[in-house]
Symmetry: C2
Subunit: 329 residues, 2 copies
């Protein structure tokens, strides 16, 4: 499972001043401001090096947006060229990854000011995104209140889609063979699934992040390697109030649930399928959430969903309810 190679985001190590930073490192500077910084890098998941570059940038920038940071000041690019490619193939792939990464940074209105490049058996793309802000320039992600709802801005299931695509490209793959034999999904459906995943992963969470400030989000994180439930739990662990999360709806990329149920259990329906460059998971009052979703759809043309609610819970548990609603999107 390609997407599960990411061993997790180490940014939640806590800071020296005791504050836990959920998605980013947050440090008060000696000048009284805050440096918000985050790093992420991984290995290609998609066929197009250009789109992989975009995904790498969207993924690292997402951590800043999840903190409600309006503007990324600069990006350092982390890159490995693939040792095992021919020189020509390597040059093209590396250049295309860089082009995709740069284009996403341009879209994010930020600048690449440095980085590091190595040769590695596997290609790598990623970066470091940094912003210096004043005290009110970010959301401290610890203010979720009982009665808040949880909004998710991208569908789940990227890991399933990427794996199905990988199976399909291999000779005589037993999982793909089973999909074909059982007529579980058609080739066009598999293509649509991958297309939806790639578009989702390559999309910036910038607008979603900006609108959080306007609509007074109480807390947020972004959904990546730990799956929706893992990140919901991390978010609960970070709250000042004793609150839990109850997820009642899972918006899934169309047909991923069939693959999860019939071919290989990615733990998608129990909330632990890893996501790459996933959506923002936001705690906010219900009326704000509705306006937020409407604004986001108007600005970007993509839906977001209310997928759960914040409860009073001294145990701070995040759970998925038994009769969870599966929403294929």
């Amino acid at each position: 499972m390609l997407a599960s190679l990411n061993l997790g985001d180490g940014n939640n190590l806590g800071t020296a001043d005791g504050r836990i930073a959920l998605d980013c490192s947050v440090r008060e500077t000696r000048q009284g401001h805050y440096v918000i910084s985050t790093t992420d890098f991984f290995f290609p998941l998609v066929d197009s090096p250009y789109l992989q570059g975009r995904i790498g940038a969207a993924n690292v920038l997402s951590d800043l947006y999840a903190e409600g940071v309006e503007h990324c000041d600069f990006v350092l690019m982390l890159l490995a060229a693939c040792r095992d490619m021919s020189l020509e193939e390597r040059n093209i792939c590396t250049q295309e990854m860089v082009r995709g990464f740069r284009d996403a940074c341009i879209e994010a209105d930020t600048t690449i000011t440095g980085g590091q490049t190595v040769l590695n058996p596997w290609p790598i793309i990623g970066g470091v995104a940094t912003s210096v802000v004043t005290k009110d320039g970010f959301i401290s992600s610890d203010g979720a209140q009982p009665g808040d709802v949880l909004v998710l801005t991208k569908p789940l299931g990227t890991q399933v889609a990427v794996n199905v695509h990988e199976w399909r490209n291999r000779d005589d793959n037993k999982f793909w063979n089973k999909i074909v034999e059982t007529n579980l999904i058609t080739v066009p459906e598999a293509e649509d699934m991958m297309y939806a995943a790639v578009c989702s992963m390559a999309r910036l969470n910038k607008t979603g992040g900006l609108l959080m400030l306007k609509h007074k989000a109480n807390a947020a994180t972004d959904v990546t390697g730990f799956g929706i439930l893992g990140h919901a739990q991390n978010l609960m662990d970070n709250q000042l109030a004793q609150v839990g999360a109850e997820l009642h709806t899972l918006p899934l990329i169309a047909n991923t649930v069939k693959v999860n149920d019939e071919i290989l259990n990615f733990r998608l329906k129990i909330g632990y399928s890893a996501e790459t460059s996933g959506g923002l998971l936001i705690s906010m009052p219900e009326e704000n959430a509705k306006a937020y979703i409407q604004d986001l759809e108007e600005a970007e043309g993509y839906p977001a969903w209310i997928i759960g609610r914040i409860t009073d819970d001294p145990n701070r548990k995040a759970t998925i309810i038994d009769d969870v609603k599966i929403l294929e999107v």
Copy 2:
């Protein structure tokens, strides 16, 4: 050649405001301060994962010290655990790399506040070092003057030493066989060479950086993948004045020159042998340089050397003079 896997430091891409940052990304913040940030990561060069961790931290922090930054505000750690090790070996190696990295960060009086960990065919260690400073909190590295001398704070030859060590550990290695057959160097001499290289690579450039401010360095960089002459040239390209560099002395780890001359040409004597976590190369007036070297030796117990001088040169060339003095240290 292990050390040459580093394809170079991309931090000198230039910044949006037109200023070329030699070793780091330098960005003015919206609040009127400067964020100095740098990233570096690479693959193990030494047998001890603990020392490799220290080297990884020393190497990335060095870029900040080369900018005359007094204090690193925080570090993000970049880590890959080795996929091809047994689980036990992988856990021990990874933990030891992290321990070495952390210890060096503690010595540098900084904090690790985040990072990213992946599984990769090769282990990786590195980081991102960031400091927010005021305008006079760093050296802009563009003020070298004709008549300045060039000081180097660590000896050269780490790539040669690391390779000799690698040859010696392999079965029936042709280079090591030739060393033995020709009695070029003894086993204890090879061990001393590697020991000197490891100590040098693991040593922080912190004191060397702090003393640059006291002794009014005009410009500085640190010596890594491009070799001493490559970095001297980069330094000249960055100067406001039309100056060149003439290197008259090369301080080399003992016996590396023999290996370079008799076994395999690492381009050590022409200044292009890659270094890892090398010394600071500093342009400063001669009288300051003498006091700087004395101060550094008193503080750390390690020598530094005047290795060249700055000339008036509209072509901005860095060269090594014909009868260069080889100083085995």
